[in-house]
Symmetry: C2
Subunit: 301 residues, 2 copies
């Protein structure tokens, strides 16, 4: 089943203790789409500038991603530069150039309007709601957001949240959104805002899913080396939504599998800079690491 993602395509300049890369293809929609392409057919709605060339388009095409919704606008593509230091748990943004992303107005191609699985990556909540309202046949709509919108556009964010099924968000942002430091209570507050499922991304501490009937905690995969954490959250979301779109099964058991597939994909993403590891994966590697997650967490009752 096709999975639509709406979000940013960017060129990133990244420095970590393990190296430095300039102007490599990134952005939330890109990480999401490349990841989800391992699970299902992916459609993307984003805006790029004149500097987005055939070599970049080929990255999407190589993964069979539908790029009809990739809008080309005059000007430069969104650029972000940042660095990770110490425990690498948080990026320090050095520079953000919104460029064509500043006036991004998502246009849904007619062929996308039958979409049932949709992910609204981190953009202005009014745009997220606008996209969501154009898609009448959805089965599952996911949304990501960030502190900037939680603080800056709370009313628009509330409207967007009321219209989605699952919120995928960082731990600190969940606390900020709920104005509640206890995570379990924060989850209850957020779920009352609309999304019946809440997925809290906790970085190196894993992921917790709060759904209608239960709580599920998955650890992060304990990697010996994290080369570049950029895109890990969007990669998680791509694996999570990708598995759900592939299986068309929203049961509790399958939501849990989706969390582990998301964690599996994120554990690969951070092993190398940018999209590199995600582009040279194999189905066998994904299956093997999923099994490693089982081994990592299993105990007898």
């Amino acid at each position: 089943m096709a999975l639509l993602v709406v979000g940013s395509v960017a060129f990133d300049s990244i420095e970590t203790p393990y190296g430095r890369e300039e102007n490599i293809l990134g952005g939330a929609a890109t990480y999401f789409a490349v990841t989800a392409s391992w699970f299902t057919h992916v459609r993307v709605v984003a805006v790029v500038g004149d500097d987005f060339g055939d070599e970049h388009l080929k990255v999407f095409r190589s993964r069979g991603i539908d790029t009809q919704g990739l809008d080309r606008a005059p000007g430069k593509t969104f650029r972000w530069s940042g660095e990770y230091i110490g425990d690498m748990n948080e990026a320090r943004t050095l520079e953000t150039q919104l460029n064509v992303f500043e006036s991004f107005s998502p246009k849904i191609p007619p062929s996308y309007l039958d979409g049932e699985y949709v992910f609204l990556a981190n953009i202005h909540p009014a745009l997220q709601l606008h996209v969501r309202e154009q898609l009448p046949r959805t089965r599952l709509v996911g949304l990501d957001t960030m502190n900037y919108w939680i603080k800056g556009t709370p009313d628009e964010l509330r409207k967007a949240l009321a219209a989605v099924d699952v919120l995928v968000i960082n731990e600190g942002e969940a606390r900020m959104l709920a104005e509640e430091s206890n995570l379990r209570r924060a989850a209850a507050v957020v779920r009352r805002m609309g999304p019946r499922m809440l997925v809290i991304k906790r970085g190196e501490h894993g992921v917790t899913l709060f759904s209608e009937s239960s709580i599920f905690s998955a650890p992060a995969y304990p990697l010996e080396k994290v080369s570049d954490p950029t895109g890990a959250g969007d990669t998680f979301a791509g694996g999570f939504m990708g598995h759900l779109a592939r299986t068309r099964d929203l049961s509790e058991a399958n939501l849990r599998r989706a969390v582990v597939y998301g964690s599996t994909m994120a554990s690969f993403a951070v092993e190398d800079f940018g999209l590199r590891r995600l582009l040279r994966l194999t189905e066998g590697e994904i299956a093997a690491r999923y099994r490693e997650f089982k081994e990592l967490t299993h105990f007898d009752a």
Copy 2:
């Protein structure tokens, strides 16, 4: 099988967002012993002062704990006061009065010398080693330590580590001890120092066990309210070691169960101030929460 703990008995004054208690019975050996008493027969070696009365002794006795090793010295019992603010992940120490604990020299009663299961709670590493050397028949020796000894007495700590089987330590302290920020690499460094098993306590993020053959991650139980985190780490250790002493089974599968029993007990401890919740537990509650941990982490392969 009897389980011996050597460590502190203290009177704690604690303030959290949920209340304040003055001079309540605490200390690492106390939390450990009361917890482990739910699993096996417990012996304690510690020092107390003149202010340690019958009402305090009764707490140990009520749990069937052998207090032959409880040394009474002239002076006052160790006192600690601290507060927890914000996310309550770390205590801020307001005052420490070592009192009789300052010259603590652990004396092992002859009847304890056959001990096979031993936990050396957080005291001077030279004392930990001294105790360990008096016990020739051990099957499993656990040790806890802290930043104070890692920085202050590294040589003594190295000797103690070389003589134990399992180190139970906080995440930040594991990184400090190994001088390595990546947790998986830090674990490898620490295991080369002696302990063949390493249990890393991650507070609200759970526990990770690094053993000879594998890594096991367990989440913390997502509580709606944490009243008082004091003693959570020692409670974890009491459940972990208690289960192992009860079952006399050091297989990988049973080590994992022990981690979950430790996490189960810690999740109870923090629900109320001091030892209160640990003293009014039932076997049924322990079994039910263990099952909840299974439900919290289970997914299909």
